[in-house]
């Protein structure tokens, strides 16, 4: 336990001093604010019904920006671009260590490969939780700002809904980060891992789903692919119509499938790290 704590402290130091970590978090927050508040608010102020907001009425747009829909606001951008950003974080955190030769240095310094790698995973988990909590705080602040500006009552969602939203956000981001870690471990290169991950997340899953629709009978498989499952979990809080947000699976089922993916990605990555030669 002491060795794991030491590894986590070491990894947190290098992740927090890496500009790339902060850049990715900043990009995510910017995209989240832009698509959840800025564009809907501008659309609301100009009468609504625009294509970019899926033809929503002004009343519907305003309702989606209120504090009471905070869980939905928090999670709706996560399955698609948020997940892609976290996949990049996981892939470059692990993959770049092979290119820079830092894994060999770390494995010699640390108590064991397992503790070193688990330290990386725990440090990434801290970043994921921090990002989700920061997103929640930013979204809460903006929703209050919109409510005050538009003279609307400030009603908060039940604490259980909020907790479920935060938990789902952590699960979605955690799964995509773990997917990036796995790709970085397999590819032993950040560029290849990021490329493969983005092709999968942004294109291949949708192509497979479309093919399954045409062929029939394959939906049970494509419905539980990582991105679509993440979309279903986000969809359980509302936000239908947002790209990447789906209602294929129930929230509970989607949560369980995502947890299984996360666990599988971590176990496979750890097994590869422990067994393969480090050259």
């Amino acid at each position: 336990m002491t060795a794991l704590f030491a590894s986590t402290r070491a990894e947190l130091l290098r992740l927090t001093k890496w500009r790339v970590t902060w850049l990715l978090i900043a990009v995510w927050l910017t995209l989240n604010v832009t698509f959840v508040y800025v564009i809907p608010y501008l659309s609301y102020r100009t009468g609504g019904g625009g294509e970019i907001t899926d033809g929503q009425s002004p009343e519907s747009l305003l309702a989606d920006m209120m504090p009471t829909t905070l869980a939905q606001s928090l999670t709706q951008g996560m399955p698609l671009f948020g997940g892609a950003i976290m996949l990049i974080l996981g892939a470059i955190t692990v993959g770049s260590g092979f290119g820079w030769g830092t894994w060999k240095t770390v494995f010699v310094q640390s108590a064991s490969r397992s503790t070193a790698f688990l330290g990386t995973l725990v440090a990434l988990a801290v970043v994921v939780v921090g990002t989700v909590v920061t997103t929640l705080a930013v979204d809460a602040g903006l929703s209050v700002l919109v409510a005050v500006t538009e003279a609307q009552p400030i009603d908060w969602p039940p604490a259980t809904d909020l907790a479920a939203g935060v938990g789902s956000g952590i699960l979605i981001f955690g799964m995509w980060t773990a997917a990036g870690v796995l790709l970085g471990t397999v590819a032993r290169s950040p560029a290849l891992a990021v490329g493969l991950g983005l092709v999968w997340a942004m294109a291949l899953e949708n192509l497979l789903a479309a093919a399954a629709n045409l062929l029939g009978g394959l939906e049970p498989i494509t419905d539980v692919l990582p991105g679509r499952t993440a979309g279903s979990l986000a969809g359980s809080f509302g936000g239908g119509g947002t790209p990447g947000v789906l209602t294929i699976l129930g929230g509970g089922t989607a949560g369980l499938v995502l947890a299984a993916y996360l666990l599988a990605f971590v176990v496979i990555s750890l097994t590869l790290i422990r067994r393969r030669d480090v050259v």
Binding site: S7, T102, V279
Partner: protein
């Protein structure tokens, strides 16, 4: 009594059809500087990687500090620099060491001490990516020194160092040995090994050719005799030290183990009427021994002309 720090038993690594390391047996004793000597591609780094648990042997075994390579019980007692330093380019030298020190729960004082020992204190705040090759190498050695490990495994530590840096490295290695730390050093710099190492393992083509002290490898001293007429000088030398000890070379006659015979030989040559140009004691350098061994181990078409 000296204890064994590293020992290998027919350690072998094969990559597909290529045999990188073949049944290597080495023994490193406590407190010594052991030089692992070999040309590029000889299998030095592969052997060291196996000893650190970074790669698994195909067959054979090894113990390091009494445990199998990579054992949790030993990792805190080993410092290593393997095939060039691997650090985060965006972090400063000091922050890189802070990260690595945290893995061993070491504090800032350990980092400062390590930087000081390799003379990088004043450049510790600069990004690693901006370091010269020699500075990167010194940071790698500093990382290996964190926490004063019992065993240091250094793969070509003088790579990229200027002459002053190489001299500093030799002094550092001697200081470490004086403090009782054991150093396993791989190198192809024969002068460095000759000056710093207590014992040497010579490897070529993945096979260990010899393991001995530097003095044992270099063998006994000999006498170089240049006198005329050459045939007369040879006859006198054979009468003085015996037929088997006299070898004709391009430089003159070489008399193995004949340094004590110099006065008698000089007198005999002069008495016989030979003109003596030079009689001096010569030692084989480690370089000569190394090329003899590695050339003999290679196919004839690849041999270095001597």
């Amino acid at each position: 009594m000296t204890s064994t720090i590293v020992s290998t038993d027919r350690l072998t690594k094969r990559y597909g059809h290529r045999l990188a390391v073949a049944e290597v047996d080495i023994t490193v004793r406590s407190g010594e500087i052991y030089g692992f000597l070999g040309p590029n591609g000889a299998g030095k780094t592969t052997t060291l990687r196996m000893l650190l648990g970074l790669i698994a042997p195909t067959s054979g075994s090894a113990t390091v500090l009494g445990y199998p390579p990579g054992a949790v019980a030993t990792t805190g007692s080993i410092g290593a620099l393997i095939e060039g330093p691997g650090f985060y380019p965006y972090l400063s030298g000091r922050d890189n060491l802070r990260v690595m020190a945290r893995y061993r729960s070491l504090g800032a004082d350990a980092v400062d001490s390590a930087l000081e020992r390799v003379d990088l204190s004043t450049r510790g705040a600069d990004p690693f990516g901006s370091y010269s090759l020699g500075m990167k190498q010194r940071l790698g050695v500093a990382c290996a020194l964190l926490g004063d490990p019992r065993l240091l495994v250094l793969d070509e530590p003088s790579n990229g160092l200027d002459p002053a840096g190489m001299a500093d490295m030799r002094t550092l290695l001697e200081d470490l040995a004086a403090q009782g730390q054991t150093v396993l050093l791989s190198s192809h710099l024969l002068g460095e090994v000759q000056e710093t190492c207590d014992r040497v393992g010579v490897i070529s083509g993945g096979r260990l050719l010899a393991e001995a002290t530097v003095a044992e490898l270099r063998g006994a001293t000999s006498l170089l005799v240049r006198a005329e007429p050459a045939e007369l000088a040879r006859q006198v030398a054979v009468r003085t030290v015996g037929h088997d000890a006299v070898h004709a070379t391009a430089d003159g006659l070489r008399l193995l183990g004949g340094s004590d015979a110099a006065p008698a030989l000089t007198e005999a040559l002069v008495s016989a009427g030979a003109r003596v140009h030079e009689i001096r004691q010569v030692e084989r350098s480690l370089e000569e021994v190394f090329f003899e061994m590695t050339n003999a181990a290679r196919p004839i078409t690849e041999r270095t002309p001597s």
